[in-house]
């Protein structure tokens, strides 16, 4: 474990830039903490935090100068691996038909700065979707292969987080090149740094950092333990899958369907949701293009087949969403589709909370099936 002083943080970022990475990190914009290009520490939301509750998000000043004193916002890293909009192919007419061409990949090597433990797990989950099926998403594969991940262990839980119960956080376990823990003592501000890959070790070697002392490692562990103990929400996954199978035709969905606006916010902010649709576009010069865009199972057209949508009611769409996340994801990809990041709770305009809905389904199941 190495020690990186707050004053030296830019040395880390510069080292990554020198190796050829474009830096992406948290920035403050439009009243929220988003992910975008950064050049150095000055672009980070230094001394800011986010207050989150179901249906609520607010940026606030902290009483310290923490670099990572907030949790996750409406963006997730998936936008850099699986962009919201990408061209599948472009097409051009020829004398005897047409030709199709795939676009070149952007070829940018990105270093993601400040990836939380739940987000690392979300990346692993999307890897299974796009890289482990019978068909590879080759564009995803190429972007993924060029990634450098700087994880940050959380020292404070957000208002809607429940990663501890999903066993994904608040401490990162693998999947990163470097992992940092920020420590703010009365008179000291530093990070403990741990390499998780040969690439990460190489960067650490370049920086030639001192070892962290035993006391410093303890302080970092205490920060993470604090985050874990602060977590206000939890989702009980014990026996959840068979339970959800039992309640598929239950009444509860109607109740949540009454409140849900079918706005698709929850799926767009979710770091694991992978659904996409395609749109064919014809250009004025006769050329054509096929675009692939994020889509949502809450969209009315999502389940459209000739004659109408299969899932007409909001209740049926909510059932698809929740059971996909917490049940059929296990069948499809061998893990939960929810990492407990809390985004869907925060960004739901009416504050629907997946942890509460799962708990309510447990109650409904007990009432219906236990007598």
């Amino acid at each position: 474990m190495k020690r990186l002083g707050r004053a030296e943080f830019d040395r880390l970022l510069n080292a990554l830039t020198e190796v050829g990475y474009e830096l992406i990190g948290p920035v403050m914009r439009d009243g929220a903490i988003l992910y975008d290009s950064i050049a150095g520490v000055r672009d980070l939301p230094v001394g800011w935090t986010d207050a989150q509750e179901a249906g609520q998000y607010r940026i606030q000043r902290r009483d310290d100068q923490a670099l990572f004193g907030y949790v996750v916002g409406p963006h997730s890293w998936k936008r850099f691996l699986f962009p919201p909009n990408q061209t599948v192919f472009s097409a051009r007419r020829t004398d005897d038909g047409f030709v199709l061409e795939t676009p070149p990949v952007d070829g940018v090597r990105r270093a993601l700065i400040g990836v939380r433990a739940c987000e690392l797990e979300a990346i692993r989950i999307q890897d299974r979707v796009f890289l482990e099926g019978p068909y590879l998403d080759t564009a995803y594969q190429q972007r993924r292969a060029m990634l450098f991940v700087v994880a940050v262990n959380c020292g404070q839980a957000g208002g809607t987080c429940f990663c501890a119960s999903m066993k994904t956080g608040p401490k990162a376990h693998g999947g990163y090149d470097l992992a940092l823990t920020e420590v703010l003592d009365a008179d000291e501000h530093y990070f403990t740094v741990d390499a998780g890959s040969p690439a990460g070790k190489e960067v650490l070697d370049r920086l030639d950092l001192p070892e962290a002392s035993g006391a410093e490692c303890d302080a970092a562990a205490a920060a993470v333990a604090r985050a874990e103990s602060q977590m206000g929400r939890s989702l009980d996954t014990d026996g959840l899958k068979p339970l959800l199978d039992r309640v598929l035709d239950g009444r509860h969905w109607e109740a949540v369907g009454q409140r849900c606006l079918s706005c698709a916010n929850c799926t767009l902010v979710c770091p694991t949701c992978f659904c996409s649709t395609v749109e064919d576009i014809t250009e004025l010069d006769g050329g054509a293009r096929r675009e692939r865009r994020w889509d949502s199972c809450f969209d009315g057209e999502f389940s459209y087949v000739a004659g109408g949508s299969i899932r007409q009611s909001t209740a049926s769409r909510y059932r698809q969403w929740l059971t996909h996340k917490l049940s059929s994801w296990h069948d499809q990809f061998g893990s939960s589709g929810c990492v407990g990041c809390g985004r869907c709770i925060t960004w739901c305009p009416v504050g629907i909370d997946i942890t509460q809905e799962a708990a309510a389904l447990r109650v409904a199941d007990a009432a219906e099936h236990d007598g």
Partner: protein
């Protein structure tokens, strides 16, 4: 700053269609036509009965269509399509010489090897006969490997009877029984009137020894399966072909999700034992 780039490698290949040319177009019914397609570049892997391809019409869109036959030389594909919306409408305007894009083959085929030695019941509703055609022909070409064979086909009205010539050809054989019914007809229709499930209430198959392949609208499949189950055909021997929205066919657009799986890769052919319960759920 130096930003390394990788070679402009072909991105998203699984989503890139291969070019095929229409070699023949045949109007089957007022709103249904067949296209015979030959590869322009290298041909795709062999597509089997029950599998489907994604057919792309330049600038309009791409839709899943089951294989309904092979051309004489065995390389070309035959797809039978009903006009229901923008893409199928545009496809209907294609003629011999026009180009389309094809991706595939996708999905699980009909379990013809497993069905060997059993009595076979084919139940088709409307256009559902197209994805079953190759399976029926396979069974008739290898007739000795199967027990009794019956084909039950239902159309909404006599004008909507698909593949009349082919049905006649099958009917002319002594070793298969072909039964056709229509939902409603005028006085000039001498055949049966009623739903296709009625045709399954017959004694020339031994239920426990029967394998049933069903394709048609979801309600038709549900009721046909119910009739067969009631007569004692085991759920694991009843197969149906599901239709769901499909945007990728390669398992990652999410549109075709059906409970635990994806219709594009786990289906479209499923055994009733696997999905019977899901079929009972509304809006699933």
């Amino acid at each position: 700053m130096h930003t390394p780039t990788v070679e402009a490698a072909a991105a998203l290949e699984p989503l890139l269609p291969q070019r095929y040319r229409v070699t023949r177009r045949c109007q089957e019914l007022a709103d249904t036509f067949s296209l015979e397609l030959a590869p322009v570049d290298s041909p795709l892997a062999c597509c089997g009965p029950g599998q489907f391809n994604m057919l792309y019409v330049y600038g309009v869109g791409e839709v899943p269509i089951s294989l309904s036959g092979h051309s004489q030389d065995g390389v070309g594909l035959i797809h039978t399509v009903r006009v229901v919306g923008p893409v199928t409408q545009a496809m209907s305007g294609l003629e011999a010489g026009d180009m389309v894009g094809v991706r595939g083959p996708f999905g699980a085929p009909w379990p013809l090897a497993e069905a060997e030695g059993r009595d076979l019941v084919f139940a088709a509703g409307g256009l559902g006969l197209a994805p079953l055609r190759l399976a029926i022909e396979h069974v008739l070409d290898n007739r000795g490997r199967f027990g009794s064979v019956c084909v039950a086909f239902g159309a909404r009205s006599p004008e909507l009877i698909l593949f009349r010539n082919i049905l006649e050809r099958w009917r002319a054989r002594f070793d298969v029984s072909v039964d056709v019914t229509v939902d409603c007809a005028g006085a000039d229709w001498a055949g049966k009137v009623g739903v296709v499930t009625r045709l399954l209430e017959r004694d020339d198959y031994e239920p426990v020894e029967t394998c049933a392949l069903i394709c048609g609208p979801e309600v038709m499949m549900r009721y046909s399966a119910k009739t067969l189950l009631d007569r004692g055909v085991p759920a694991a021997q009843i197969f149906l072909s599901m239709e769901r929205s499909m945007k990728c066919a390669v398992g990652y657009c999410g549109h075709c999700q059906f409970g635990p799986g994806f219709v594009c890769k786990d289906g479209p052919v499923y055994s009733h034992a696997d999905i019977g319960r899901l079929l009972e759920l509304s809006e699933f």
